[in-house]
């Protein structure tokens, strides 16, 4: 699984928090919070949505790695690679 493969999941998590956002139009290299004016409540909900979708509970100390779509996808890929096959694949909200 590549970093690119996980970008749709990150977009999906953003859509959970900001349903009115056009997540396909987000620039992968620009901070998500800046693009959508997300506050701390939005962000913690975004982290929770990532957890729900991927079973990766990002520690607070690593929130800094969740700045952009690109960095989120890379971080998730790294975590899932460490976990290996035992945790199973990420899931989409639609099952």
């Amino acid at each position: 699984m590549t970093s690119d493969d996980l970008t749709p999941l990150v977009r999906q998590a953003v859509a959970v928090v900001v349903p009115e956002a056009d997540v396909q139009a987000l620039d992968p290299a620009v901070p998500i919070r800046d693009q959508l004016d997300m506050d701390s409540m939005d962000f913690i909900n975004f982290v929770a949505a990532l957890d729900e979708l991927t079973h990766v509970a990002v520690p607070e100390a690593e929130y800094g790695r969740l700045g952009t779509l690109e960095s989120c996808a890379a971080y998730l890929r790294e975590q899932l690679a460490h976990r290996g096959a035992s945790a199973g694949p990420p899931r989409s909200r639609d099952g």
């Binding site: 999906q12 859509a15 959970v16 900001v18 349903p19 009115e20 997540v23 919070r33 959508l36 004016d37 506050d39 701390s40 409540m41 913690i44 909900n45 982290v47 929770a48 990532l50 957890d51 729900e52 509970a57 990002v58 520690p59 607070e60 909200r93 639609d94």
Partner: protein, 381 residues
């Protein structure tokens, strides 16, 4: 018989438009149940009933704009005694259509998933949400679905809504600055202990359960207020009217612009975990356009927190008829004297704006002192 009236959802509200009934004549209603939705300058608000009984008849039809206090419906079996003769007819404030004969309403439909912007737009354009298939994530109805259903090009409807919200904010804030003699006090608080507590606590929690700094600020404010009833009060009828519980209005910014101030009741009696659940719920509903009438009528004081992104300090304006508002700046790292050493610590500014008719600087300073002490001992929160 009891009268179910158009509620006042803030000092600036003079009228509201009945959007929909969730109940029809003959239906049982229970205290706290949402039975109608009303459009105000602050958005669509779900209106709860505060009586048990049976909905006897509806006096205002969807689409009618009526003044605050107008009888919207009559509830049979309610404790408030009234007779049909006492029920004032609805007085439309505006709107092209005259009052229509009252007819039974259809059963309340299953809730549809819809973005806040789309919901507001649907109301503006008269699009029935129940007939639409959403094209957004998980089938959520988005702006494009509404516009497609209405057959409209992008208009300035949203701008109108934004302008109306700004007008409502302007009315409340102008009244506040005209009528309330504000005084301001500010202090800077070492947030290191609170930050450590949050880090240690959140380390063991899944993201959905983690606690935000704002929750500690709300609880500390509520506990500190217990010794300062003049700051947790209303100034009405030219006298101070202290509240019996601490219900904090939380300034919530909306992504499309503007803000709303839903309240969390009895903050002083709740656990931090419980407050986090309530804060997440109320902020989510505010941004989804799903606030309830009780959310907007219970606050006894307001808190404005800039969060982690913003300015060092905020000097807020009191929301009348409350007598105080507390502002928290961003949590920032600054040089801080600890004993005889200079250390880098997370600090936060705390500002109190209070009504000088109700309190004075000496009491306000003691309140900030109490609030500061609580934030140094997060285990007391």
């Amino acid at each position: 018989m009891g009268e179910f009236r158009m509620p006042s959802l803030g000092t600036d509200m003079v009228a509201g438009t009945l959007v929909e009934w969730r109940k029809k004549p003959g239906d049982q209603v229970r205290r706290g149940e949402i039975i109608a939705e009303v459009e105000t300058d602050k958005g669509a608000i779900e209106i709860e009933v505060f009586q048990d009984g049976t909905l006897d008849r509806i006096c205002v039809e969807p689409g009618q704009k009526v003044p605050v206090g107008t009888v919207l419906a009559v509830i049979d079996g309610a404790k408030l005694a009234t007779t049909p003769e006492n029920v004032a007819p609805a007085v439309p404030v505006s709107g092209p259509s005259p009052p229509q004969p009252v007819t039974p309403q259809p059963e309340a439909k299953e809730r549809v998933r819809v973005s806040p912007l789309a919901r507001r737009l649907a109301e503006e354009l008269g699009v029935a949400l129940g007939t639409l298939q959403g094209s957004g994530p998980g089938g959520v109805i988005v702006e494009a679905d509404i516009r497609a259903a209405a057959g409209t090009a992008h208009t300035d409807v949203s701008l109108d809504r934004s302008a109306r919200m700004r007008r409502a904010i302007a009315a409340a804030m102008t009244r506040s600055k005209r009528e309330i003699p504000h005084f301001y006090l500010m202090t800077t608080v070492d947030f290191g202990s609170a930050n450590r507590w949050l880090t240690e606590t959140n380390l063991a929690l899944r993201p959905a359960e983690r606690i935000l700094p704002a929750v500690l600020l709300l609880k500390a404010t509520a506990l500190a207020l217990l010794e300062f009833p003049e700051l947790n009060a209303r100034w009405e009828d030219d006298r101070l009217q202290p509240a019996s519980a601490v219900s904090i209005g939380v300034v919530t910014t909306l992504r499309g612009g503007g803000l709303v101030i839903p309240a969390i009741a009895q903050v002083n009696r709740k656990t931090l975990a419980g407050l986090m659940v309530e804060l997440r719920d109320v902020v989510g509903r505010a941004r989804a356009g799903r606030l309830r009438s009780s959310d907007l009528t219970e606050a006894t004081i307001t808190v404005s927190s800039l969060g982690e992104r913003g300015a060092d300090a905020v000097f807020p304006v009191i929301y009348p008829p409350q007598t105080a508002i507390v502002g928290f700046g961003s949590i920032v790292e600054r040089p801080w004297a600890v004993g005889e050493q200079i250390m880098v610590r997370p600090v936060i500014s705390v500002t109190l704006a209070a009504d000088h008719r109700a309190s004075d600087g000496h009491r306000g300073a003691h309140f900030l002192e109490a609030l500061t002490a609580l934030l140094q001992e997060p285990n007391r929160l």
